[in-house]
């Protein structure tokens, strides 16, 4: 007991000061107000310059919309407003003035000073419940993609075997990950077995009697599904950008779901119309050799063709797709010389060569543009929700090929400018690889968001205030030390949440409030222990030492079990309760620092010297 020292070495103090200073700096951006803003960026390489700025400013002036300030930086214009009302109106006005060449998006601009931004400090993002907006959860039909993939492989294997002159009697797809090959003689089976093992090694192949069964490896299935989901997320991100929401969050949730948060958006109809459309275009040659009407009456289409209906008349299209929507690089809607809406398309990459060649060979013949849309309809079967998908193909135009089509051309025959706009948007943003269905939707009004922030902040203030008073009353000076640590803990949590780019939600605020109690508990444990040792007659220095030492194990044990529970809570995955789990986890970790190391540092400073006589701990 002789060598009890309640002193910290200098480096510990420096470390604490450093951590606290850093916490204040990184928490600071949250103090600056945020303004509703409208952001203008160029689509399709359109240039954003002073001319655009002047046009936008003139438009706002004409509409009598006042803005706080405007910035033109790095191909981006940012108008800041004082009210969301003005922001919404301004977005419409600017979009109308500038046209589709520019992406005009709602944004939330913060007034963080440049030097803070330069060191990576940014305010916490606010969840939808704190600022209003729409939340969607989309189910991506990854199974349909798997089916398509296996279908493709089945065709590919059949063709490869024919090329290798290995004779098989049948090839079929079973389930979504199996291919079954049938043979008449054993030699062919063996040849095929060694061939597919070499060429198609994502499958595990097994021989039985006259059949060869290939099953796609689980890793390959997983990879294919993940790729589909990532591709869907990419497309959705593009579409969200097109919607004009700059701070949208598109995230994977589980194996086949994507969650989308659109802050600030209130009109769900437009968002939904664009988000879950699995639309794309296909270009087909029209079969001009057969009489479509005659064939339709007979009910049998000629080989390699399919019936379609165009202006109420049957028409035959070749099955071969000469161009897909995925080859489109840019698309913009406009009006043709005849005053009818059209979409100008520019191509590049893979599809173009075939398209140019086919059109060159077929000058004077008709070509059809087919709009392909997969519609999903949820229905209840035996009390379970079942989503069924129907592919709908409509001819939107049939035109005679005038010349070999290069990498840019126009699509005409659209019903109205709106349809042209949507088509151009979908072509630009890319097609979804798989059909998607909205299975969850939450809309939160902006006033409710403001109210939620207000209530959240108020409960932190009141909860924290009462705890601070209570601790000071009960533990005297030591209580004040704990209060200081509590305040520091809050600053540290806010700093870490801002640094991690976490989203603050109302449940997250509830977690924050709870953390105050949990952090106070650590100090209660320590102080009660010190009191106990003092009552037992131990000296002041020894009591402080023993209190911190013994309480530490207990605090650690208690916190680890809480952390286990929080991790499980986090894994539940719903955004709302993830918020609680994140704030409590961070809060517990930081409270270990503030409540133990932090208070000890102050206690050592106050009472660590020999001169100190009486410890103010409420007894």
């Amino acid at each position: 007991m002789s060598a009890i020292s309640n002193r910290y070495p200098l480096w510990k103090y420096l470390l604490i000061i450093f951590v606290i200073a850093a916490a204040f700096i990184y928490a600071a951006p949250n103090l600056y107000p945020q303004y509703p803003a409208v952001q203008i960026m160029g689509a399709n390489a359109a240039v954003v310059d002073d001319k655009v700025l002047n046009a936008a400013e003139a438009a706002l002036q004409k509409a009598d919309l006042k803005y706080r300030d405007v910035q033109l930086t790095d191909q981006r214009i940012l108008f800041r407003f004082t009210s969301t009302d003005a922001q919404f109106k301004a977005r419409e006005v600017i979009q109308q003035t500038l046209g589709e060449q520019y992406l005009v998006a709602l944004n939330l601009a913060n007034a963080t000073p440049a030097w803070l931004t330069a060191i990576g400090a940014a305010p916490m993002k606010l969840g939808l419940d704190l600022r209003g907006g729409v939340h969607f959860l989309l189910q991506v039909d990854v199974d349909s993609v798997m089916q398509q993939r296996i279908d493709g492989d089945t065709r590919g294997i059949g063709q490869a075997l024919r090329e290798e002159h290995i004779r098989y009697s049948g090839i079929t797809r079973k389930a979504n990950n199996q291919i079954i090959l049938q043979f008449n003689d054993k030699n062919a089976l063996d040849d095929a077995y060694s061939f597919v093992n070499r060429r198609y090694n994502e499958f595990t192949w097994s021989k039985q009697d006259n059949t060869l069964t290939g099953e796609l490896l689980p890793e390959a299935v997983f990879k294919a599904k993940q790729e589909t989901l990532e591709q869907a997320m990419n497309t959705l991100r593009n579409r969200v950008n097109e919607l004009g929401v700059s701070e949208a969050v598109v995230q994977q949730q589980g194996e086949s779901r994507v969650s989308i948060d659109l802050p600030g958006v209130q009109d769900t109809a437009e968002a939904k119309n664009i988000l879950n459309k699995t639309a794309t275009l296909e270009f087909h040659m029209v079969d001009a050799e057969h009489d479509a009407a005659l064939a339709y009456r007979e009910g049998v289409p000629p080989p390699d063709t399919h019936f379609y209906s165009y202006h109420g008349q049957p028409i035959l299209l070749m099955n071969d797709i000469i161009l897909r929507g995925s080859s489109v690089v840019t698309a913009s809607s406009g009006f043709g010389e005849d005053g009818r809406p059209n979409v100008s398309v520019r191509l590049s990459g893979t599809g173009e060569a075939k398209f140019t060649k086919t059109t060159a060979e077929n000058i004077g013949k008709p070509m059809a543009v087919v709009y392909v849309e997969v519609k999903s309809t949820p229905s209840m079967v035996n009390g379970k929700q079942v989503i069924s998908y129907q592919t709908q193909r409509d001819i939107i135009s049939v035109a005679t090929i005038q010349s070999a089509l290069g990498n840019s051309f126009q699509i005409t025959g659209l019903a109205n400018p709106n349809e042209a706009r949507t088509l151009a948007l979908l072509l630009r943003a890319g097609a979804l690889p798989a059909p998607v269905t909205i299975i969850e939707e939450r809309t939160i009004g902006p006033t409710l968001g403001k109210q939620n922030i207000h209530m959240g902040v108020l409960s932190i203030e009141v909860g924290m205030g009462l705890v601070v008073i209570f601790m000071a009353l009960y533990y005297g000076v030591m209580g004040l030390v704990a209060d200081l640590a509590l305040a520091m803990n809050l600053v540290l949590i806010v700093a870490l949440l801002s640094l991690l780019g976490a989203t603050l939600t109302l449940p997250g605020i509830a977690g924050l409030v709870l953390t105050v109690a949990m952090a106070a508990d650590a100090n209660v444990l320590i102080f009660e222990r010190i009191r106990e040792e003092m009552r037992r007659g131990m000296g002041m220095q020894a009591s402080i030492h023993a209190g911190y030492e013994r309480a530490f194990v207990t605090i650690l044990d208690a916190n680890i079990t809480t952390l286990i529970v929080m991790m499980i809570l986090f894994s539940l995955g719903s955004g709302m309760i993830k918020g609680i789990a994140i704030t409590i986890t961070i809060g517990l970790l930081t409270s270990m620092f503030t409540a133990i190391t932090g208070t000890r540092a102050i206690v050592n400073l106050l009472y660590g010297r020999r001169a100190a006589k009486r410890l103010s701990i409420g007894i």
Binding site: G456, S459, G463, A510, L514, E532, A558, V565
Partner: protein, 311 residues
């Protein structure tokens, strides 16, 4: 300021029979209520449509419900929500499931609802597909079970299996009683209330561990004390802390309950119940059960080391 001038010597364990009876009664009542009343599952778990409306002045939920029923929504349930000016309209899927409608039908439904309720301002619309809800319910139950197992394993490692069983029974006891109370009073149990239940598991465990830690320490210190005595002593020694921490936590949770708004009502209510029940169960369920399971000091001692230290 002090709650107790000296170390208390309350014989907590003397009442453990009565406490056990009380716990069994509460536990059984909770299960009975769950079996009879069921749980008022929130939208997160059932799927359906929920609309939050606010009125310029105090609104009467039963009147609104009547208006909606007249307008062709017999399944609508209207409750007041937070303040008297806010109401929550739930259209839980029954025969005619709003979640199954397509967009046109749903927007038609919304305009019909708003037309039936003049003066109402739309604050929030939630629509959740039934599959998501069912999945969330089963995931939530899994989360509770895994939490219990995970913490049990940790305690078995750090202390002793008897402690682990004692504390786990205490931990099962707490959520069941919370859910039982939610069921008895028909309070909506939503996702965030579930989060509160899991948080209570963490909180209640905190309390238990603090006591167990002291039991371990006391066993090492007093060689001849018997388990019952040590348990009593440990609970008494940590009593100030238990009261203080419960008080501090209750303060902040009450702040959330009164100021946090309607969204957090379920959460803070579950926590308030959980803190009271959890504090009690740490002492009477976890503590006394561990004693009943036959805990002795040998279970917590590192034997070989002691042998070495003999002269």
């Amino acid at each position: 300021m002090e709650f107790f001038k000296h170390n208390t010597t309350i014989d907590f364990m003397a009442q453990r029979k009565w406490a056990a009876i009380l716990s069994v009664i509460l536990f059984t009542l909770s299960l009975v209520s769950l079996a009879y009343n069921g749980l008022n599952w929130g939208l997160d778990f059932t799927g359906g449509t929920q609309i939050q409306l606010s009125y310029p002045e105090a609104a009467d939920p039963s009147q609104i419900q009547e208006k909606l029923q007249n307008a062709g929504f017999p399944e609508a349930v209207v409750i007041s929500f937070g303040t008297s000016k806010d109401v929550l309209v739930s259209l839980v899927p029954k025969e005619k499931n709003p979640a199954m409608m397509n967009d046109a039908e749903r927007s038609k439904m919304m305009s019909e609802i708003l037309a039936a309720l003049p003066g109402a301002k739309l604050n929030q619309i939630d629509y959740i597909g039934p599959t998501v809800g069912q999945e969330m319910a089963s995931k939530g139950l899994m989360a509770i079970i895994i939490s219990l197992l995970g913490t049990m394993i940790y305690i078995a490692f750090r202390f002793d299996l008897r402690f682990a069983i004692g504390s786990t029974v205490a931990l099962v006891h707490d959520p069941v009683i919370i859910i039982g109370i939610f069921s008895f009073f028909h309070i909506e149990f939503n996702l965030i209330a579930l989060a509160a239940v899991l948080t209570v598991i963490g909180y209640s465990l905190n309390d238990t561990i603090v006591i167990f830690d002291r039991v371990r320490e006391n066993f090492r210190k007093f060689r001849k004390a018997d388990a019952l005595e040590v348990m009593n002593q440990s609970i008494n020694q940590t009593l100030s802390r238990t009261i203080m921490t419960s008080a501090v936590t209750l303060i902040v949770v009450f702040a959330l309950f009164f100021l946090g708004g309607s969204l957090l009502h379920g959460f803070s209510l579950a926590l308030i119940i959980g803190i009271v029940v959890g504090t009690y169960s740490s002492i009477y369920v976890a503590g006394s059960l561990t004693i009943s399971l036959g805990l002795t000091r040998h279970h917590l001692l590192v034997v070989p080391r002691e042998v070495d230290q003999r002269p």
